[in-house]
């Protein structure tokens, strides 16, 4: 165990002790509620505190990142914001690429984490993963981000294996008026965004936004440029309307275009070289919500998503149409039922690129699903159980069943204990089914190849490839130690089967080369276990601490040919959020990550490389200069000139993540 982890454990102990002593401090809540009504109306109110967020009524490991947290983090992209949540492993590879996962198996296309923006899945079936460089929102309009660790497949469907992230933007009524943000700095060369919200009619509200940024390339250790600069523009709208007493209708849309550069270092393509990346897309989502009564409702959601990507390693477009219906109702006093069904159609087209061919080039897939879940009160106020399952049919592996059973116990007010068993699957990607990837060419008569003919090593899709399966066991405990401090602990054991592996097929001769095909199979298996701790302590009215710690142990078997990444064993995040003087916010954010193993497509011997541990810190200072104007300055990764966080498994050059500073103005009008 490393020294920093010991430090974090001691901090945790200190917090528990400290927050116990604030039992006395907690008395002021009592004093406030006893004030006279006249005095209460004169108290200045601060909006809901964070402590409540890890105390919810669910029998799952849920953490909520709220609007205020996002602002005070100083983060400028979705992956950077996700570092706020315990148990989320965020590692930046270079300017435009991140590896983001929960409970292990990280990579730039980590495949066991489902991500949704306002109910629209942004998990791509191309290679099973999220293209983070194409996912952006106006961060100032995000209401909250729900981070659910552990399987969520019963409610959210396949690929919600290790976790689910729901990014939820604000209702248009809550974003009325104008907001202008502008800023720039050393890495964030320049950024700007404008949003305007208006009331269109009685109970009909709308907003529109436009944003853009220009990010500087990172510098390599020898002062070379990594040539990974990035510019992007995005715009969108949202309309929310109460169309009748019983019905609300929401419609939203986004359109974006990104232009990036990257340096690739593929063995198949020769020496490192610079190549552009173009991304673009648009999407439309509409949602009708109907309340039959205060205990029964249904919602009907539709989305269309178009995305396009043109880069050296992949050149494709994809169109997805999705329809979901959900109904909730109560049965007597003890049952709360939710059920739903859905259909998804997806059509793609891949152009052949030197490194990847996909046959057939175009494919249409259909996904059908049906799910039901019942929350049953066993003993009023003390014990409830949740039982549910999802039946899904996909074109790759046919029917998949993903059930869950959860128990929630409230031993006394402020304490919640829960346990669960769930199954989830990760369905095959288009590449695992139909792809052919040129991994490397070994020249004739070279050190690696003594034959007189060149060897071409390829990685091949397998139509018999199965879904990866998880059986997960979780235990959790949440407690409000005092009104000002709370603690959330989760432990889990994940048992994986039919994980991705590969075997070498028979060599073949073609066109003056010998091809050695490596073929995907499902022979790997393994388990992970871990503990996640989140603690919030409002030490003083103007000083809050947020501590999170994650422990993860990964054991995988039968990975001779196909190595999987091993996530850091220990991860710590400690934030101090202060308001030392009126109208001034000061935030410190210290992060530690233990060493990790990343898949390195370039190494010959071991398939993975070690990423060293690192400690880094961000500081943000903000001043509410005027009722409508906030000025802020944010320093990121301040402790070192740069540190490496990850290596890309798909050939993009990794760079040290540099120290950087930016200033920002926010004006409401």
């Amino acid at each position: 165990m490393h020294r920093f982890s010991i430090l974090s454990m001691s901090l945790l102990g200190l917090f528990v002790l400290g927050s116990r002593s604030s039992l006395v401090l907690g008395a002021d809540d009592q004093q406030i509620v006893d004030l006279s009504i006249e005095d209460l109306l004169n108290v200045k109110v601060t909006t809901a505190s964070k402590k409540a967020q890890i105390l919810s009524d669910t029998s799952a490991a849920v953490f909520v990142i709220n609007h205020e947290d996002i602002k005070r983090s100083g983060a400028t992209s979705i992956p950077e914001v996700l570092r706020l949540a315990p148990g989320v492993d965020v590692a930046r590879i270079n300017n435009r690429k991140w590896a983001v996962t929960i409970r292990g198996f990280n990579g730039s296309l980590a495949n066991k984490l489902l991500v949704m923006i306002d109910g629209r899945s942004v998990y791509s079936p191309d290679a099973s993963g999220v293209y983070w460089d194409a996912q952006d929102v106006m961060l100032e309009d995000v209401e909250r981000i729900e981070v659910i660790r552990g399987p969520g497949a019963t409610l959210w469907g396949a690929n919600a294996v290790n976790g689910v992230i729901n990014i939820i933007t604000q209702h248009a009524e809550d974003t009325q008026g104008g907001l202008l943000n502008a800023g720039g700095g050393s890495q964030e060369l320049g950024f700007g965004s404008v949003r305007y919200g208006a009331k269109l009619a009685d109970e009909t509200f709308a907003r529109a936004y436009f944003k853009g940024f220009l990010r500087d390339e990172y510098t390599l250790p020898k002062n070379d440029s990594s040539q990974d600069n990035w510019q992007q523009v995005q715009g969108g709208f949202r309309v929310d309307s109460l169309i009748s007493t019983q019905d609300t209708l929401s419609m939203q849309g986004n359109i974006y275009r990104g232009e990036m550069n990257q340096t690739l270092q593929s063995q198949a393509a020769g020496a490192p070289f610079q190549t552009p990346v173009d991304t673009s897309g648009w999407n439309l989502t509409s949602r009708l919500h109907h309340a039959f009564s205060s205990t029964a409702d249904y919602s009907l959601q539709f989305f269309y998503n178009h995305e396009q990507r043109d880069e050296f390693v992949v050149n494709n477009r994809r169109d997805t149409v999705n329809i979901d219906f959900q109904n909730t109702f109560s049965l007597g006093n003890r049952h709360n039922v939710i059920w739903g069904l859905g259909y998804r159609y997806s059509s793609d087209h891949f152009e052949d690129v030197p490194i990847l061919t996909i046959k057939p080039n175009s494919r249409e897939t259909n996904l059908y699903n049906l799910f039901a879940q019942d929350d049953i009160v066993l003993i009023e106020k003390y014990l409830s159980v949740t039982l549910g399952s999802r039946l899904e049919h996909n074109d790759y592996t046919g029917f998949e069943v993903q059930p869950t059973a959860r128990l929630l116990w409230t031993p006394k007010a402020g304490h919640k204990a829960w346990a669960s068993i769930s199954r989830a699957v990760r369905t095959p990607s288009r590449i695992e089914d139909n792809g052919k990837l040129n991994i490397r060419t070994l020249d004739a008569n070279s050190t690696q190849n003594s034959l007189p003919l060149p060897l071409n090593v390829t990685l091949n899709g397998n139509p018999a490839y199965k879904a990866e399966q998880l059986l997960s066991y979780e235990l959790g405990y949440r407690v409000a130690i005092t009104p000002k401090a709370s603690l959330d602990i989760t432990a889990f054991y994940n048992d994986y089967h039919t994980l991705r592996s590969s075997n070498t097929g028979a060599p073949s001769y073609d066109n003056g080369q010998i091809e050695i095909p490596i073929v995907f199979n499902n022979r790997s298996y393994g388990h992970t276990y871990g503990v996640e701790v989140a603690q919030v302590w409002q030490m003083l009215d103007w000083w809050r601490w947020d501590l999170s710690y994650g422990f993860l142990d990964t054991k995988l078997y039968n990975i001779d040919h196909y190595q999987a990444a091993i996530s850091p064993k220990h991860k710590v995040s400690l934030r101090a959020s202060l308001t030392p003087i009126n109208k001034v916010n000061l935030d410190f954010w210290l992060r530690y990550s233990d060493a990790a193993q990343a898949v390195n497509p370039l190494s010959y011997n071991a398939l993975t490389s070690t990423i060293n541990e690192y400690v880094t810190m961000d500081i943000r200072l903000a001043w509410q200069a005027h009722e409508k104007v906030e000025l802020s300055i944010t320093g990121q990764n301040l402790l070192e000139s740069g540190h490496l966080e990850y290596i890309d498994e798909s050939y993009a050059l990794h760079t040290p993540i540099q120290r950087s500073v930016y200033a920002k103005v926010s004006w409401r009008f």
């Binding site: 002021d28 009504i37 108290v43 109110v45 601060t46 409540a52 919500h289 205060s294 205990t295 709360n336």
Partner: protein, 183 residues
């Protein structure tokens, strides 16, 4: 840890230490409170300054029930008024998972519920002797009795007197004079 250069840690940590010292030394006084603690305090006052029909709150009743609906996070703040005495009764706070059990509620505090759900809920309990408290104008317009809205960082009270009377509730003049009253 050997990779980490100690001197690089110094300056930001030094800043943090300074702030810690400032916190220990200074006694920055806060005249503010958490929003939901204040809301809970006001709800307690409504329990004290409202009269229910004798048929609903009988002499032998020893509790006044305050039910919470909507955002489960509110429960924690309202825990501070659970068990408070109101005249010769005690206040019981309970979070409703769903609104199937409204009959036992004397006060219903609704937080963060979708508008169509609020509208449907208020239609369902119209004329029942429940003091409904919400958080915006919409709540009052659709037949809620009280709304606690934030105005210039303070909470202000709006009361729909017609609704309160229809539901058989009498709100004390002491509260009415501090509120915006809609007839």
């Amino acid at each position: 840890m050997s990779r980490l250069n100690k001197s690089t840690l110094k300056s930001p940590l030094r800043l943090l230490c300074l702030v810690v010292l400032y916190a220990l030394w200074g006694s920055v006084h806060a005249d503010s409170a958490q929003e939901f603690t204040v809301r809970a305090g006001l709800a307690l006052n409504f329990a004290r300054f409202t009269e229910w029909p004798d048929t609903v709150l009988k002499d032998i009743d020893t509790t006044i029930n305050l039910c919470l609906l909507g955002n489960p996070m509110v429960e924690e703040a309202f825990a501070s008024i659970h068990g408070k005495t109101v005249g010769n009764r005690t206040l019981q706070v309970q979070l409703l998972a769903h609104s199937s059990n409204l009959n036992d509620c004397h006060i219903l505090y609704v937080s963060d519920l979708d508008k169509n759900k609020i509208a449907v809920l208020l239609d369902e309990i119209v004329n029942l002797p429940i003091l409904t408290i919400g958080e915006d104008d919409f709540f009052i317009q659709r037949g809620g009795a009280v709304s606690l809205e934030i105005l210039n960082d303070k909470i202000s009270i709006k009361i729909n007197l017609k609704t309160a009377k229809q539901n058989g509730l009498t709100i004390s003049a002491r509260v009415l004079k501090l509120a915006t009253v809609i007839q």
